[in-house]
């Protein structure tokens, strides 16, 4: 039994992969709390797809892929922020246009590359077990930056997310906080792409926090529970991936999804079996 747990850790790739996936899971869960409460899930999906052309361009001009992806992701996140302030189009319409357009640009560039490019496929689907030491350090540093910023600005981000007008009137720089949140989201997504790939990043962001929201009513506990769900799912998912030889990112996301399903059914607060369903408590907003 102990061998089943410890055995895989004798491989360097498993150690690095587990560490990277845990960092990604934790950072995503923390940022996910804001994503879920602010209704940014679609933006998260858009930003992760928009990172793709950045990765391809970085590959083509021979700079580290991370930098290309990060620049594209953060720029897109901020562009979405600007678009949302104009408001002549419905917000999700504008995001949909931007998201499909940037991804198409990435595919177009990608199709100019001759032959099979394993690296880029890795970014589409993620391969955390293939992560090198250099990438692991980047993940750790960027993840720490995101977590520290969120920790320091916890109160202010919470107030600005809950009641932007009240927060702005009380003197908080709400606009700057929103842009900061979008930039952090961009960084988080680029960090996470290596682990779970462009397509599944949104699940890492949204699912743990959404699960926690079904169970708890306090922001701090929501974040703590989301992190716990992410950590357990990451560990289980990676071992599943190791033993069954299946895709690691998909395994992690599937286990998180199972946790969400369980909360949906069994949550004492809002679960289908709780007997006192409160309509509206878990309804998505804005």
């Amino acid at each position: 039994m102990i061998d089943l747990v410890v055995g895989p850790l004798s491989y360097g790739f498993m150690q690095r992969g587990l560490l990277a996936a845990l960092i990604v899971g934790i950072v995503c869960a923390v940022m996910g709390a804001f994503v879920v409460l602010k209704g940014l899930a679609f933006i998260g999906d858009a930003v992760s797809h928009a990172a793709f052309p950045g990765l391809v361009v970085a590959y083509l001009i021979g700079i580290p892929l991370y930098i290309g992806g990060a620049v594209a992701a953060v720029l897109t996140a901020l562009a979405i922020g600007v678009v949302s302030r104009r408001g002549s189009l419905r917000f999700d319409t504008a995001v949909g246009v931007l998201f499909a357009g940037t991804f198409a640009f990435g595919i177009l560039l990608f199709s100019t590359i001759r032959g099979f490019v394993a690296d880029l496929f890795g970014y589409l689907l993620g391969n955390v077990l293939g992560i090198g030491l250099g990438d692991l350090i980047q993940v750790a540093v960027l993840g720490a930056v995101v977590l520290i910023v969120v920790l320091v600005l916890r109160k202010e981000l919470l107030f600005a997310t809950f009641d932007p007008a009240g927060a702005a009137a009380s003197g908080l720089p709400v606009t700057r906080l929103e842009y900061l949140l979008l930039a952090l989201l961009g960084v988080t997504i680029v960090v996470s792409i290596q682990a779970v790939g462009i397509i599944l990043v949104v699940a890492m962001l949204v699912t743990p926090a959404a699960t926690a929201q079904l169970v708890v009513i306090r922001f701090d506990r929501l974040v703590a529970l989301a992190v716990a769900i992410a950590v357990v799912s990451t560990i289980l998912g990676l071992y599943l991936s190791f033993y069954l030889n299946v895709a690691s990112g998909a395994s992690i996301v599937l286990i998180e999804t199972l946790a969400f399903g369980a909360a949906l059914v069994f949550s004492p607060r809002s679960g289908a079996l709780s007997g006192r369903r409160r309509s509206g408590v878990i309804a998505p907003t804005g």
Binding site: E156, A165, G171, L172
Partner: protein
């Protein structure tokens, strides 16, 4: 026009008159298209820490995972400062604000579990906890029951007596006449400002403000009974209906 410190002012007008907009301009949330506004001797927003703004209930996400006490503590956030935690003084102010509005027992409940009247109480408590000099309240007593309305107005009256300025929008002309000292009638422009009782009972001014949407009946006691139907107009679908005080679900 200018509003004196210590005023208890009702901002009255039909939907679309610009009541909320006026409040948002005073709070520094949006810039005026023309003219200048000075709040506490500076442009709106400069002395934000001395101003408490409470938005309309419909604009708040009630599913948000925060408790009553946490919402009230948000009133302290700018005073506490970035990267610091609430101290004993802040907790004390939160406790007192909750007691003032009669919500001490509900401090650990999620805000979505409250009735409409309780929600207004909590948001007023948040404003109180900020210890502002100026209250900007967007429909603080809309759709609440008579008890809640009286309680909230008692609190606002006490604040005004203590020298704080209270500016609140309202659809309730009777409440404005009875509980506010002053009224500001607007309909995209200032119609009148003055003692609340005089303005609200002035049929010509009301007709000018509401464009004929107010039903004015002669009262048997010789006074005038005003029935305001303005807030039943253009209630857009999807808007939260008016609250009624009810047992929490």
């Amino acid at each position: 026009m200018s509003i004196r410190r210590g005023s208890l002012l009702a901002v009255i007008g039909p939907n679309g008159a610009g009541k909320s907009t006026l409040l948002k301009i005073m709070a520094g949330l949006i810039a005026p298209r023309a003219g200048t506004v000075e709040i506490l001797g500076g442009p709106p927003g400069r002395y934000a820490r001395r101003v408490a703004y409470v938005p309309q209930a419909e604009l708040v996400d009630w599913a948000f995972p925060v408790t009553v006490a946490e919402v009230v503590m948000m009133g302290r956030y700018t005073a506490i400062g970035i990267g610091r935690r609430p101290g004993p003084h802040d907790h004390d102010l939160v406790d007192r604000a909750l007691a003032t509005v009669g919500m001490s027992d509900a401090r650990d409940r999620q805000i979505g579990a409250l009735s409409g009247g309780q929600r207004r109480r909590v948001f007023l408590a948040r404003a109180l906890a900020a210890e502002p000099e100026l209250y900007l309240l967007d429909e603080p007593v809309t759709g609440v029951d008579a008890t809640t309305q009286e309680d909230l107005m008692d609190v606002l009256e006490a604040e005004a007596r203590a020298g704080k300025t209270v500016i609140a929008t309202t659809h309730d002309l009777a409440c404005a006449a009875h509980r506010f000292q002053q009224a500001l009638l607007i309909n995209r422009r200032v119609v009148a400002i003055g003692p609340a009782k005089d303005l609200v009972l002035d049929q010509r001014l009301l007709a000018e403000t509401y464009g004929g949407h107010v039903l004015i009946l002669p009262d048997l006691t010789g006074g005038t009974l005003v029935i305001d139907d303005a807030h039943h107009h253009d209630q857009a679908p999807g808007h939260e209906p008016h609250y009624h005080e009810e047992a929490p679900r």
